[in-house]
Structure formats: C-alpha cells, structure tokens
C-alpha cells in the first residue's frame, strides 16, 4: 500500500487551520522586532562589536552589519553588454544496496552573453567516481566515506572548479562579467566535519575562490527565498539584557539572566522569524538592503579574504539573498554590478536568475536517466564479469510480489 490519502487529508486540514491562527500573532511580533531593528540605525558599529563578542557564546547565528541598517539602495544601471558563467550540480549518491561502489556527479555548465553580440553555451559534464581515493578520505589512520553531506561538499567544490574552467574558456572579452553559483557560498555542511575532512574540501573550495580572485572575476551566489535568521540573531542581541558592549560583555545563552529569573528570554519574541521578515518592509522592487558579514563559525574562522558578505534584494514578492566574498564586497563598483546583474538575471528568468535555471536544467538527473544509468552499470559490470548483483533488500523493493 502507498500513501493513505484519506488519513493524510485530515492532518493537512488541521495544519492549515493552525498555520492561519499563528499568522496573526506572527505579524504582531514581526512589527515589534522590525521597530527595534530600525531604532538601531546609526549604531551599526556598536552592534557589530556586540556580534563579534557574542559569537562564541550566543546560541544563534549572527550577522555583522557593514552598512547602515536602513539601507535601501536603488538598482544601478544595468550594463548594455555583460557575460556570466554559472554552474549547478546534481549527484547520484553511493548506493550501498547497489551493484558497485561508485557515485556520479553531473555538473551543468552555462555561459551567457548579452548585449551587442549575444551568445549562449549550455552543457553538462558527468563524472563517475569509483576509485578508492574517490570513495574515501583518509588521513592515514581514519578513513571517512564520501557520501551524504560529504558528497554534497565534493559537488560544491566541483561546481566551483567548473566555474574556473568556464571563466577561462569564455570570459575573455572586455565586458562586465560574473561567476554565479546557486545556494550559499558558506560551506555549512563542513562545519561539523572532522578537521582533516574540512581542510580537504575547504582548501579546494577556497582555491577556487582564489582562482576567481586572481582573474578579477566577481563571484556571487543567489538564494531564492532564504530562511536564514542571521540578522534576526543580531536583533536578539539588541533585546538581550546581558549584552554590555562597553564592558566587553556579549550574550551568553548558557547563563541567560532572564531564564535565571524564571522569565522567558527577552529575545524569544524573535522565535521563528527570518531575515527576510525584517527587511521586507524597507525594500521596494529592485532595491537592495544593507551588507552584512555572516558570523557563522566556518566563515569567520576559515574563509580568510573570502569571508562571505550578503545582502538582500527585492525581486517581485520575494527577497533574494545574494552572497559575495569580501574582495567583491569591499569594491562598491563590484557590489553595484552584482546588484544590477542579479536583478537583470532574475528579471529575464521571471523571478529567478535565468543562468541558474539553465544550469539546473543541465545538471538535473531525472529518474528515467537514473534508471538507465543503473542498467548501464549493471550490464557493463556483467560483461566485465564483475559481481553485478544488487542486495537482497534492493531486489525485494523492486516490485510488489503477489
């Protein structure tokens, strides 16, 4: 039997009712939190310091303000001609029940040039990994399989490396250009990894950013409907009774004075709110909000001159989060260029950058292709007289037995 839709339908209706009820109280909370945020305009330096000293001890994510909090910059002029490269990847993870130990990464590659001499090049490049050094990371004593999150990390690196290749191949004209990635530039997935695993992936990822920096090609990533609560984290500091910047005292959630006094923490009003809730009101179409530095541990501690900054930009009813490395963020012309190009790309794509849409289309592995790949693998192993059988569990799931 599959999904019992009758049973599910009842629960869906209950959920909808509960969601509608909570929306009203959320709106009221949001306006109070936004008011506190606006009040802090002009005191950016103060709260930047507060974020720095609270980084280790606060339980939530933080953003370090770089520009006035009420920034709402209009979209700069879009250059007549520009070029960009973008990449996106998908993977077929190691199948423990499958016939062979291997995984596949498919990278979609996009080059687009607009203006006087428009041109597009779309392609995809699959790579099959099956060697011992592809399947495991090892530091001599420890041997860590590359699967799940680590495979995603490897894919992120491969996407970056593809961008360098694309840039060398295509971004040779003297017109404004950009290298674009989907999702975040901050490799969260590595935050909890073992040191040597983190060093391995992050080293290669930062090498890709180094390569783009050397070439002078700005890098950016676009996050549609971001759910990150980093700016909200900094507002929590504004509400926290324990923060005293003058005394060098940041928020320390393990010694929360509100909790000690038997109250709900003052910052609990921020519960469930995200950055876009805060900034939505101050940005109209095409405008971008203030630049922040993400204070996530891996970004602050490991990204060197590539420390990731971000800003929000309004595209229709959505605020997108755009991330850029420090060497781009510190050049106002480059920030303006990214702002203009990201908006133009989203406009051409009907709300989402067309280059990323195309890269995704190139990268995606559909279920039919996935099956063909499995058959190809099994047939080839069979011909090579290698063991090609799937596990009993996988066989048992392939069809319903009467």
């Amino acid at each position: 039997m599959g999904l019992d839709l009758t049973a599910l339908g009842r629960q869906v209706r209950q959920m909808s009712g509960a969601t509608a009820l909570s929306a009203a109280t959320t709106n009221e909370r949001t306006s109070r939190v936004v008011a506190r945020y606006r009040e802090a305009t002009g005191a950016e330096q103060h709260w930047a310091t507060a974020a720095n000293i609270s980084r280790e001890t606060a339980n939530w994510l933080l953003a370090h303000p770089v520009e006035p909090l009420d920034t709402a910059r209009n979209r700069p002029e879009i250059p007549v001609s520009y070029a960009l490269v973008a990449s996106d990847g998908s993977q077929i993870d190691l199948d423990r029940h499958g016939s062979a130990s291997c995984y596949l990464i498919n990278i979609g590659r996009v080059f687009l040039r607009y203006g006087e001499n428009p041109l597009a090049r779309l392609s995809s490049e699959p790579v099959l990994y099956y060697r011992e050094e592809d399947l495991y990371l090892s530091n001599g004593t420890r041997r860590v399989p590359i699967e799940g999150n680590y495979l995603s990390a490897r894919r992120d690196v491969d996407e970056g490396v593809a961008l360098v290749g694309l840039a060398d191949e295509f971004l040779t004209d003297d017109i404004p250009c950009l290298a674009l990635q989907d999702g975040t530039l901050i490799r969260w997935t590595l935050a909890g990894a073992e040191r040597f695993v983190q060093d391995h992936f992050l080293g290669r990822y930062l090498a890709y950013l180094d390569a783009m920096h050397e070439r002078g090609i700005p890098v950016a990533s676009y996050i549609s409907r971001p759910r990150s609560p980093e700016v909200v984290g900094t507002i929590r500091l504004m509400l926290c009774p324990d923060v005293d910047v003058a005394a060098g005292k940041g928020a320390n959630c393990s010694e929360c004075s509100d909790l000690a006094d038997g109250r709900d923490p003052s910052c609990s009003i921020c519960q469930g709110l995200v950055d876009t809730d805060i900034l939505a009101g101050q940005l109209s179409e095409g405008q971008r909000g203030p630049l922040f530095i993400s204070m996530s541990r891996i970004n602050v501690e490991s990204y060197r001159e590539h420390t990731i900054y971000f800003f929000h930009m309004r595209v229709g009813r959505e605020l997108a989060r755009i991330e850029i490395p420090q060497w781009v963020a510190q050049d106002p012309d480059q920030v303006d260029l990214i702002h203009a190009l990201m908006y133009d790309q989203a406009g051409r794509g009907g709300g989402y950058p067309v280059a990323l849409e195309r890269a995704h289309e190139q990268a995606v592995v559909r279920s039919a292709d996935r099956r063909t790949f499995q058959h190809m693998l099994e047939a080839s192993l069979y011909r090579a007289e290698a063991d090609a059988s799937a596990s009993a569990k996988k066989d048992s799931k392939s069809y319903i037995k009467g």
Binding site: P118, L119, R121, A346, G347, R348, G350, G351, R358, E361
Partner: protein, 209 residues
C-alpha cells in the same frame, strides 16, 4: 525521361537525422527556425558513400528540447518592457540552446552513385547522419520522373495533397520548362486520381500557373 547526373552538391548540411524509419525520417535543424520549406526535397546521407536518401519535407515544428517541455511567453518583460519577435531571441540567447526546430520528410527515393530511384531504399538513413538541402538542379533532376507522386498521394497521416502540390510548384520553379512541367504533372495526377475527381481538381487548383 532521362536522369541527370547528381550535382555533387557543395551545399552545407542543414540538419541531422534524429528519428528514422523505412518510410520517413525526422531531422533536427542546426539553426533554430531554419528548416527547409514545406514540400522541398532534402537528401540524407547513408552509411554507403555513394548512397543518399531523398525525402519531401511534410512537417516543420519548433519546441522545447526537453521532453514534455513548452516554450513560455516572453514578449512582456518582468520590468514591463515589450519585446517583439526577433528581439526576444536577441535578449535571450539561451533560447537557441533549449529550443529545437525539427522537420520530417517522407522518403520518396534514393540515389546510388549517379542513378536515382523513385522507390524506397533498402535502408533508411541512419540516425545522426547529415541532411542536405537540394539545389534547383538536383530537384529538377529528381523530378524528371513522377513515380513518387503515387507514394505521396497514398501516404497516411500526412497532408499529402498539399505536400504534392508544394513539391510540384517547387519543381516547376526550379526548371526552365516550368509550364511544360506543370502540364506534365497535371496529366500524371489525372491518371493517378481518375477515380477521385474532387481530389484531382483540388490539387490541380493548387498547382495552376
């Protein structure tokens, strides 16, 4: 009627076979929206060097390369600007990569070295082999004989009357003796359609000079 020697056409290939069967084949055009005209004669290369298959183009279509994909309207931009026709392609260079123009041809004969045959070849053109347009000389030469009229008239699921009229008009244009050719073609049609007066007159009206 005599058979003219093949021209050894230096014309550039325009497409590639992507679907092939004994009676018809479909080709993808290398340039978006640039398919050979309806009713025109095309030549598909085969695995034997001297052998090529002739087809008459009976359908042209353009759509998403993605199975099940559809094009979307792009004439009004996100910022409210209006774009017209070719401007849309200029503003979206990626369209040329994701859309594809295809044309299908009904097989009407083949050539082997310098001989042309107006019946089905032993093998259809292989998938991925090149498709070339035929110039006036080659078209005129192929249509020296009208044996293929019958294959077109009685082929199923194609607009056969329209297709044959278009092919006859194109051949007449390509030949010096246009009028004589039309009269000749009309007589051939009359003999093929002696039992179907309505259909005959409908075709004759379409090829009338």
């Amino acid at each position: 009627m005599g058979v003219a020697a093949p021209t050894g056409s230096p014309m550039e290939r325009i497409g590639e076979v992507i679907e092939s069967s004994t009676t018809r084949f479909t080709a993808g055009a290398y340039e978006l929206l640039a398919a050979p005209p309806f009713g025109s004669l095309v030549r598909a290369q085969t695995r034997s060097a001297g052998v090529a298959v002739y087809g008459l183009v009976y359908e042209i279509r353009t759509g998403s390369k993605e199975p099940g994909g559809r094009a979307m309207m792009r004439g009004r931009t996100y910022s409210g600007r209006n774009l017209y026709d070719a401007e849309i392609y200029h503003e979206h260079p990626d369209l040329a990569e994701v859309l594809q123009t295809e044309f299908s041809a009904i097989t009407v004969g083949y050539c082997e070295r310098d001989r042309r045959y107006q019946y089905l070849p032993p093998h259809p053109p292989p998938v991925h082999y090149s498709v070339y347009p035929c110039d006036d000389a080659e078209l005129g030469g192929f249509c020296e004989s009208s044996d293929f009229f019958r294959s077109v008239l009685f082929a199923a699921q194609i607009p056969s009357d329209e297709l044959l009229s278009a092919a006859i008009r194109a051949t007449a244009r390509a030949r010096h003796d246009s009028r004589d050719y039309l009269v000749y073609a009309g007589r051939e049609l009359a003999s093929l359609l002696k039992d179907d007066y309505d259909r005959l007159t409908a075709i004759l009206r379409r090829i009338k000079p």
